[in-house]
């Protein structure tokens, strides 16, 4: 059927949380009521990132963007625009582009943006494989299967310099090569979509906005290392990602792009979804494997690493969602193209998620090497309410703590460790100067206490002790020795914890103890919270509760 107009509604977890589903329903109702059901089609699309407020509605082919749209606005859009052909000026997205009429196709990204991973998000209907194919989808898989040997594929990925986007930054090509060379008939590709790092939601928006890009990359990885089965481990908090993946897998199988004898070649590859059940530690790759194996998600001893002994003891590649989404463009455009983006030692783009006390929230894809100043003050539009910047936590609580003196450090996997920081998953939690450092560090510590799997003592007990001491300090009962105790606990936890979670847990504490020493000292010496956040009142003894 031919439609004279397509109306795209942003349907991601974030926009649905702001009422996008109701907007879509209302659009369908109003369009039917206006008798336009055969002329105008309503479609879903993914996020366009920080460049557009949620939820947005795009009318094609007029290239008009309305954002943000509420249910109340829908009738006017339908009656004025779709029925009478008059753009509703008041509802237009004014945004960055000087407040004029925002008509653009494709919507122009923010000035500093460079879209590789998010090339399709917000432009295509993720539930329709044809829209992905129309934008060169599955072309990279076809090229790999018909023109390249597995070794050539690995060589291209190695030469591109792509590093794991989950946070560790390990060279992807090497991981693939280790797995290819490992002995074993059966091998697996696992996609880590257990994005639990607070402040990170890039993988969710990739899966919701462009699920096929990840499936295609998994099949390419399977061909390269000699695996025929893939698993995507998605966290339970992401029902919509799971739904989009289910649809995408079914559509790809229907068209012979997944399953037996892909595109008529001898290569077969299938993907199954595994749903997590709410455990942060499962983002650690060996804990994730344990969870797929149906066990408690407790990390394994390394080595052996997954490329040697992974899922069910078989050689396994574990790649993050964002890492995989980079693969098809690298295959199509070549490693030199990829190397032309970002820094020489850390090529490509990075998707950052701006969260916390910043004006523009959302995700943004920029070349590696951008500074925090550009991210927070240009793209993020500065601190909310005109406050000052206290710190930016990068990569969630286990990542790095960036204090204002580090605003001009280029952001890349290899640069931040020099400043005792880390790029991590790309989460940027901006915290303004109205917040109390003890309260913030306590929040990080409570997170790790909640998420510790309990396997090793330093993390299980150390985490609890740290929270206890911080609670004491914020209740005005701390002593100067407590600060020394915190440092001692933190250093020991870092040195002796079993896995990355426990080793990283004390990082923000240790860095903040150093940088915000004075603020901690005021808490313990003068029993006073300069920001007025801590109660500074010792907790009343809990009353005895009578159980009925």
């Amino acid at each position: 059927m031919f439609y004279r107009a397509h109306v795209l509604v942003e349907m991601t977890s974030s926009s649905v949380a702001l009422g996008a589903a109701q907007v879509k329903e209302q659009l369908e109702r109003e369009i039917a009521r206006a008798g336009l059901g055969n002329e105008v089609k309503v479609l879903e699309t993914g996020s366009f990132g920080a460049a557009l407020p949620s939820p947005f509605v795009v009318v094609y082919p007029d290239n008009v963007i309305y954002a943000p749209v509420s249910v109340r606005d829908v009738r006017r859009i339908v009656e004025e625009h779709l029925l009478k052909g008059r753009v509703v000026r008041e509802l237009l997205f004014a945004g960055e582009r000087g407040g004029g009429v925002a008509t653009f196709i494709p919507p122009s990204p923010l000035k500093k943006e460079k879209r590789v991973v998010l090339r399709n998000s917000g432009l295509i209907d993720p539930l329709n494989i044809e829209e992905y194919i129309a934008r060169d989808g599955y072309l990279a898989l076809a090229k790999v299967l018909t023109e390249m040997t597995p070794e050539e594929v690995i060589e291209v990925v190695k030469r591109s310099g792509l590093q794991g986007r989950g946070g560790a930054g390990f060279p992807t090509g090497l991981k693939w090569e280790f797995t290819r060379k490992a002995e074993g008939e059966e091998k697996y590709i696992v996609c880590n979509a257990d994005e639990g790092e607070p402040g990170t939601f890039k993988d969710r928006l990739i899966l919701e906005g462009d699920p096929h890009s990840v499936l295609e990359a998994m099949a390419i990885a399977g061909y390269a290392v000699g695996a025929n089965q893939g698993y995507i481990y998605v966290r339970a908090e992401y029902p919509q990602s799971i739904r989009h993946l289910e649809v995408a897998i079914a559509q790809a199988k229907e068209r012979g792009l997944l399953g037996e004898r892909i595109l008529g070649t001898s290569f077969s590859f299938d993907v199954k979804i595994r749903r997590g059940a709410g455990a942060y530690v499962c983002g650690e790759e060996t804990a994730l494997l344990e969870s797929i194996e149906g066990k408690r998600g407790e990390p394994r001893v390394k080595p052996p690493y997954p490329p040697q002994k992974g899922l069910w003891g078989k050689p396994t590649v574990i790649n993050n969602v964002e890492t995989l989404a980079n693969i098809p463009p690298i295959i199509l455009n070549g490693p030199d193209w990829f190397r032309s983006i970002g820094t020489p030692t850390c090529p490509g783009t990075k998707v950052f998620t701006l969260t916390g006390n910043v004006n523009n929230l959302g995700l943004v894809e920029v070349p590696m090497g951008i500074t925090l100043r550009e991210l927070v003050f240009e793209i993020g539009g500065g601190i909310r309410g005109g406050h000052g910047l206290k710190l930016v936590q990068t990569g969630g609580p286990s990542g790095g703590t960036m204090t204002p003196d580090l605003l001009d450090v280029p952001m890349a996997f290899d640069t931040l460790p020099r400043y005792n920081s880390a790029l991590g998953s790309g989460a940027l939690t901006v915290i303004d100067d109205t917040h109390c450092i003890v309260d913030i560090v306590k929040n990080f510590a409570e997170f790790f206490l909640h998420e510790s799997c309990g396997k090793c003592t330093p993390c299980r007990v150390g985490g609890k002790r740290i929270v206890d001491i911080l609670e004491r300090i914020s209740a005005g009962a701390g002593s100067p020795e407590d600060l020394e105790k915190l440092r001692y606990l933190g250093q020991h936890m870092k040195a002796t914890a079993f896995c990355g979670l426990g080793q990283a847990a004390p990082n923000p504490l240790l860095r903040c103890l150093e940088f915000f020493r004075e603020e901690f000292e005021v808490h313990v010496r003068e029993k006073c919270c300069p920001q007025g956040v801590c109660t500074m009142r010792p907790k009343p003894q809990p009353k005895k509760t009578v159980r009925v």
């Binding site: 977890s13 974030s14 649905v16 949380a17 702001l18 949620s54 994005e195 639990g196 790092e197 607070p198 402040g199 990170t200 939601f201 969710r204 966290r235 339970a236 908090e237 992401y238 029902p239 595994r274 749903r275 997590g276 059940a277 709410g278 455990a279 942060y280 969870s291 797929i292 194996e293 149906g294 066990k295 408690r296 998600g297 069910w312 998620t353 701006l354 969260t355 916390g356 006390n357 929230l361 959302g362 995700l363 936590q393 969630g396 609580p397 989460a427 939690t429 915290i431 303004d432 917040h435 913030i440 929040n443 990080f444 409570e446 997170f447 909640h450 998420e451 799997c453």
Partner: protein
């Protein structure tokens, strides 16, 4: 949610994963989806059928935050307390919910409708502070919005 446990139904769930090597977590998730929680005798039954120790099954059931071994309300409210929500007022959201529902964290309302839980990052930090009610996520929460949302579920 109050459907009686029919072992045929559990058998049906078990049969879905016959070909899987290690189906335990998938089975527990499906059982919970059907009945809202994992009763102890069902865990024992699953253990016997899979030929693994019931301690292992119980260990898995209690490891994951989304698996419940006690009955929960019809609607489980999970409030995010991670830093991005924390610095945008998650504490006020939690307090408002406690006040509106008259329960504390980890408790269920007397009518069995709501269970209030605190959780780690829900991954919707762009609309912080946020919470989930069963499968549905709500963001940019204020006291007023919380009242509106609860009203949707109270009917």
């Amino acid at each position: 949610m109050n459907t009686p446990f029919v072992y045929q139904d559990i058998e049906e769930i078990l049969s879905r994963y016959e070909k899987e090597e290690t189906p335990l977590l998938c089975i527990l998730e499906d059982i919970q989806e059907k009945w809202g929680y994992l009763p102890r005798d069902v865990l024992g039954y699953v253990a016997r059928r899979l030929g693994i120790p019931s301690s292992t099954v119980y260990g898995v059931a209690t490891f994951y935050a989304f698996l419940e071994v006690r009955p929960v309300g019809k609607y489980v409210i999970r409030v995010c307390k991670s830093t991005p929500c924390h610095v945008r007022g998650a504490t006020d959201v939690l307090e408002a919910l406690k006040r509106e529902l008259g329960i504390r964290e980890g408790e269920t309302t007397k009518d069995g409708k709501f269970t209030l839980e605190v959780t780690s990052c829900l991954g919707v930090c762009g609309v912080a502070p946020a919470m989930m009610v069963n499968d549905v996520t709500y963001g940019n929460l204020t006291e007023e919005r919380i009242r509106e949302i609860l009203a949707l579920y109270r009917e």
